[in-house]
Symmetry: C2
Subunit: 334 residues, 2 copies
């Protein structure tokens, strides 16, 4: 193969076939993908399904703790999981820029393959487009996921109820600050890495431990504050948070303070919010902590009757209203 | 709203929400999408499923007979249909360039909505990313489709058998030449328009009329010749075509002859290849012709034992070997 991607690799002809066989089929190897028909045949899905899609445009392509490839698998696996579903299959669509070093593509595809195996969710169908130099910045990836819902009452942003506890599976802000640090070459951020991780096994643990929960959400773009505000509005409830209980890694806290950023608005890619009746909170936290990705899980607040908004009880005893993110802290974060 | 897309419309915050509500939810209106959770809940899918994904990067965004919006719906609806499936749900991921006129986005989204209603396949979950000016060329769309397989033996490129007839649902080359004409402003191509159309209803008619078929494929990138070569290789059979029987519209024939293009290698977006036992061919053709998109359906050749290749019996009685497309006739055709 050439060392850089040529336009004809997206033509649908012989060059496309070579790329698919030598790169994608080898890395993603599974019998469903290898059929190479126009669609993948999924014979064994049962019951109600969850479907979710995300396009990944993150820059740089590689950053501390991950890459656009691992992110593209984790992000969609997590979105499917948030409906109380077991993610089963992923599709994958590449948009590649002519001239992209094949080594770069291969590394990203290898990262996807590792992430897909770790999450135990195979990539079963795909598509590759190559656009001329300058028509896209290096590469974009879309993944779409399908999962089986295994809870009688799927969680939803609409289901938060007064009296519920608000749990977070770990520290917030790591992903957002990592991307910012990698992009700007901020050397004092060397202790920060993305939290990007597959949450499907942890979600299964939570639901096995406590049965139905009211809300599951992963606070990605817009961060914890934006996601909780969305939930407050969808459920028409208030949410009260205790600032002191929200876990933020020290390196993230310091980096944010230096850069004037708020970790509550920074993206996370390996955290979930779980809202459920207070009586179930301890069991849910214990389930989260059994996962390698939920070691720092804590209760950060409660759902109350009242105006659909999120208030933060600050460290010094004040109250601060958290709204949705206005403007863009950072484009191309995921 | 502003008249051009700003970066913060992709932030996941308030501006994203405005765009989603004012543009996507209004046009794609359906109860599944309106839940706005991380994934869509699909409660009513039965049996084996087909899943297919495609990213659309066509330029220009609008062309005779269609747009990137209608194409993004038709293309994925058709890929799902080619597994003998009834497409049921679509996801949709936008990658948008900062500064894109909102009017352009709205027109594309309106085209998608019309195409989705016409095909009767709702868009149930989505994602929007906005990248800085210059990081993508105007807009890319990914759609992923899920369908219910309603045939006992799903068609596959691996199933062509000697003795089968090779049918095509209509004239070839229209889409490819249309894109080329729109891009280059070729005024003598005014009689050419894309064939982009949803084929799900036609496929249902065919399968209702004749039961199982061996192969269904839509000859998109690489055209009829490349797709048939792929099938010949997957099934390890020969395919013989009669040049005189392959329908090509006169305007396409003239345009190709002028530009030095081969219509057999040009993309189609509303045609299918159907390969099935010769005894069923007449009924399948009749079923195709009952569809508005299959009026010109004909038998163009047959499957034979022998080397896995496609040969064309030419107008003057010679034989020409058709291979796969080598190189790229035209990038960003779909």
């Amino acid at each position: 193969m050439e060392s850089c991607l040529l336009l004809d690799a997206g033509s649908g002809g012989r060059a496309s076939q070579r790329l698919v066989k030598q790169c994608f089929l080898q890395q993603f190897a599974n019998p469903l993908l290898e059929r190479m028909d126009d669609a993948a045949l999924l014979a064994d899905l049962k019951g109600a399904l969850a479907m979710s899609t995300d396009s990944y445009t993150v820059t740089p392509l590689f950053f501390a703790g991950g890459s656009i490839g691992s992110l593209a698998v984790h992000g969609t696996v997590n979105d499917v999981s948030m409906l109380g579903a077991r993610p089963r299959y992923l599709s994958c669509g590449f948009i590649l820029e002519e001239g992209l070093p094949l080594e770069t593509l291969e590394q990203v595809v290898a990262d996807m393959a590792v992430a897909s195996r770790k999450a135990n969710v195979p990539i079963v169908t795909g598509d590759t487009k190559v656009v001329p130099r300058g028509a896209c910045d290096k590469m974009f990836i879309n993944t779409t996921g399908i999962g089986e819902i295994f809870t009688a009452n799927p969680p939803s942003g609409h289901n938060a109820r007064p009296g519920d506890a608000v749990l977070v599976s770990g520290a917030v802000g790591d992903h957002g600050l990592t991307i910012m640090g990698s992009r700007e070459g901020l050397s004092f951020l060397t202790d920060v890495a993305t939290d990007s991780a597959p949450l499907n096994h942890m979600v299964a643990e939570i639901l096995a431990a406590v049965g139905d929960v009211h809300v599951l959400r992963d606070p990605t773009r817009g961060g914890l504050a934006t996601t909780l505000t969305e939930i407050a509005e969808q459920s028409q409830v208030g949410i009260e948070l205790d600032e002191t209980s929200i876990p933020v890694h020290e390196a993230v806290r310091n980096g944010c303070s230096f850069l004037g950023l708020d970790p509550l608005y920074l993206a996370n890619e390996g955290k979930c919010i779980c809202i459920l009746p207070e009586a179930k909170a301890a069991d849910a936290l214990a389930a989260m902590r059994r996962s390698p990705y939920g070691q720092e899980a804590v209760c950060v607040g409660r759902v109350v009757a009242g105006r659909p908004q999120v208030t933060l009880r600050t460290r010094i005893g004040g109250q601060r209203l958290l709204g949705m993110l206005e403007g863009a802290q950072l484009p191309r974060i995921c």
